[in-house]
């Protein structure tokens, strides 16, 4: 009779022996796990609730209370919202604007970050402060003038307007700058000696070597473009060019003090939320493995 693999005569277990070295005491470990589980639940349950309502039938979705599983499973919320709000065009607009915007933002921030690495660049500190200040300007201050500006630049109702506004961000620059600093300087020096132009050093050495940083910044840029509302509302009145948040905000937030007669059932609202969140989750899943190593924030001293 052949012994099952479990009882193989080898004295060595195949699996790495689970090491108990240098860990918390069992009590603390238990507490830690409990803390994280509670935390996770508190973070996941609301989202499950959104999902469960989105996949409930219209009637079921209207009954109050928190549910984790759809009461009467149905996708009518999705089909309703998709047709009703004609989500195709806003969805694609958002996707287009966010992808292009994130790509450009990452690229431009990367160039700037790269330039600001040059320690002996005259006025470097000045330029950094100049960029940092832009991070503090409240949007309301420039609310009127930003419209005038976009109008003068012929950016109203254009995709380029959607992309250009908020194209370069101080935070992205700072994050990437931090990341580039961790690329050994001797690499760029070696490339210099290899007769390489600055731009090629940037594209062939710094960009590929900063993948985690690039991934993180692109992700952040994508999320902020995807969720961006103020600028699109300001510059877009052409319904062809609506972005997803512009459409969804109305649905989720249909104000009741106006005697309008719109009725959007909750399952459709939640479906809209799910639709608008899915690309973010996908982007997150792509960026996830880089996020921890990519968000080197270190000590910024501008």
């Amino acid at each position: 009779m052949k012994l099952p693999a479990l009882f193989s005569p080898s004295k060595l277990s195949k699996k790495q022996p689970k090491s108990n070295r240098n860990q918390l005491t069992p009590t603390l470990k238990f507490l830690n796990i409990i803390m994280l589980i509670i935390l996770m639940l508190s973070m996941i349950v609301p989202f499950l609730n959104v999902l469960s309502i989105a996949f409930s039938s219209r009637q079921a979705s209207m009954s109050p209370g928190i549910s984790i599983f759809p009461k009467e499973f149905s996708t009518e919320g999705f089909s309703y919202i998709w047709q009703r709000a004609k989500l195709w065009s806003p969805f694609l607009n958002s996707l287009f604007v966010s992808v292009v915007g994130a790509a450009l933002q990452t690229f431009l921030s990367a160039i700037t970050a790269y330039i600001l690495m040059k320690k002996d660049l005259p006025f470097r500190r000045l330029i950094i402060s100049f960029i940092m200040i832009t991070m503090m300007i409240p949007g309301e201050l420039t609310l009127v003038s930003i419209y005038t500006l976009n109008k003068n630049l012929n950016l109203l109702n254009t995709y380029s307007g959607l992309i250009i506004n908020g194209l370069v961000s101080g935070l992205s620059i700072i994050l990437l700058n931090n990341y580039f600093e961790s690329v050994p300087r001797s690499l760029s020096e070696a490339a210099l000696i290899d007769n390489t132009g600055e731009f090629k050093i940037f594209t062939r050495i710094y960009l590929p070597l900063s993948k985690p940083g690039i991934a993180t910044v692109s992700f952040i840029a994508f999320v902020s473009k995807w969720n961006s509302l103020m600028i699109p509302v300001t510059i877009i009145t052409d319904q062809d060019k609506y972005t997803l948040p512009m459409v969804l905000r109305n649905l989720v937030f249909n104000s009741s003090s106006v005697s309008g007669s719109e009725f959007v059932p909750p399952n459709a609202i939640m479906a809209a939320i799910v639709i608008s969140t899915i690309p973010l989750l996908i982007a997150y899943i792509f960026a996830q493995r880089y996020l921890v190593s990519g968000t080197i924030i270190g000590s910024v001293k501008g």
Binding site: L24, P46, N49, G65, E140, T142, L291, I297
Partner: protein, 298 residues
């Protein structure tokens, strides 16, 4: 004198770099500074929609600063901001450490991903969810009822809880994001020092206290500086979650600007209040940087 010469030489050396940098600086000039300056100019005017703007000097500023609601909104922002940051730092650090203590990769990934989700959702959604949870027959009161609380607690509409709710939901939303930032600094720590500490007989908890925490300090400082910039501009959360009962204690300066400037079509007031907010942000940021980095400079 040699240094001067160097600067000039470097400018020449980097002339192409400046040419590349130019469009980006131009971008900031056009899209940040031009509107900023236009806004500042407007703040000194009584801007009428008919186009008849009159220079009024500091009148708009006086009006804003004399409005106790505005002053109150600044206090609100400070208190809520402070509460948030304290808790986010404590919580973020605790979670980062907690995640770091997990032993398998899938555990780490799961916790990390699920704590990150709220950060991805907008306040419209998050706010709605929490109003739901905190409502008298919502989840939380359900749980409290289970533990013997007799009548439901009116979390959302009780002035006493208003700020706490803003603080806690704000923390809840951003916690995962900050935990990841802090986790980054732990992961970057030289693993050997933990082995050295083991040999020194330090229990894990002590290692966390004495080795992991100090390692996170510089990240914390940076995060603090970066996040303080948004101190006064919390709009969405308050807009979505506040109600008349608590608005007085939770209104943020930006919400004030929205209500009293924008909704009232008063550009002068809106811009003047915004300039004040900008100045305050600048002062707080600079002050904080000074405090945090003072010792490093010397």
């Amino acid at each position: 004198m040699k240094k001067k010469k160097n600067t000039w030489k470097n400018i020449k050396k980097y002339r192409f770099i400046y040419i590349i940098l130019l469009p980006i600086l131009l971008y900031f000039i056009v899209f940040s500074y031009t509107p900023l300056i236009m806004g500042i100019v407007q703040s000194f005017n009584d801007v009428k929609l008919s186009g008849n703007s009159v220079f009024v000097g500091l009148e708009n500023y006086q009006e804003v600063l004399n409005d106790s609601k505005f002053i109150q909104s600044i206090w609100n922002a400070l208190i809520i901001g402070l509460g948030k940051w304290i808790l986010i730092f404590i919580g973020g650090v605790a979670i980062a450490i907690g995640i770091n203590e997990l032993t398998t990769k899938w555990q780490k990934t799961t916790v990390q991903t699920s704590t990150y989700i709220p950060y991805l959702l907008s306040w419209t959604i998050v706010g709605g969810i929490w109003i739901f949870i905190l409502s008298p027959n919502g989840l939380l009161n359900g749980i409290l009822g289970f533990f013997g609380q007799e009548s439901p607690i009116l979390f959302i509409s009780n002035q006493k809880y208003g700020r706490w709710i803003m603080i806690l939901t704000g923390v809840w939303k951003d916690l995962g994001y900050y935990a990841v930032l802090f986790l980054t600094s732990i992961v970057a720590t030289n693993p050997n020092i933990f082995e050295a500490a083991q040999i020194d007989g330090a229990p894990r908890m002590k290692q966390i206290r004495r080795l992991v925490l100090p390692e996170m300090v510089s990240t914390m400082k940076t995060v603090l500086v970066l996040s303080i910039m948004g101190l006064f501009t919390n709009f969405d959360q308050i807009f979505v979650m506040a109600n008349p009962a608590v608005i007085e204690k939770t209104r943020s300066p930006i919400l004030y600007i929205y209500e009293n400037g924008i909704q009232a079509f008063d550009v002068g007031i809106a811009t003047a209040a915004s300039v004040i907010v900008l100045l305050l942000t600048g002062v707080v940021t600079l002050g904080l940087r000074y405090i945090l980095y003072r010792r490093d400079e010397s």
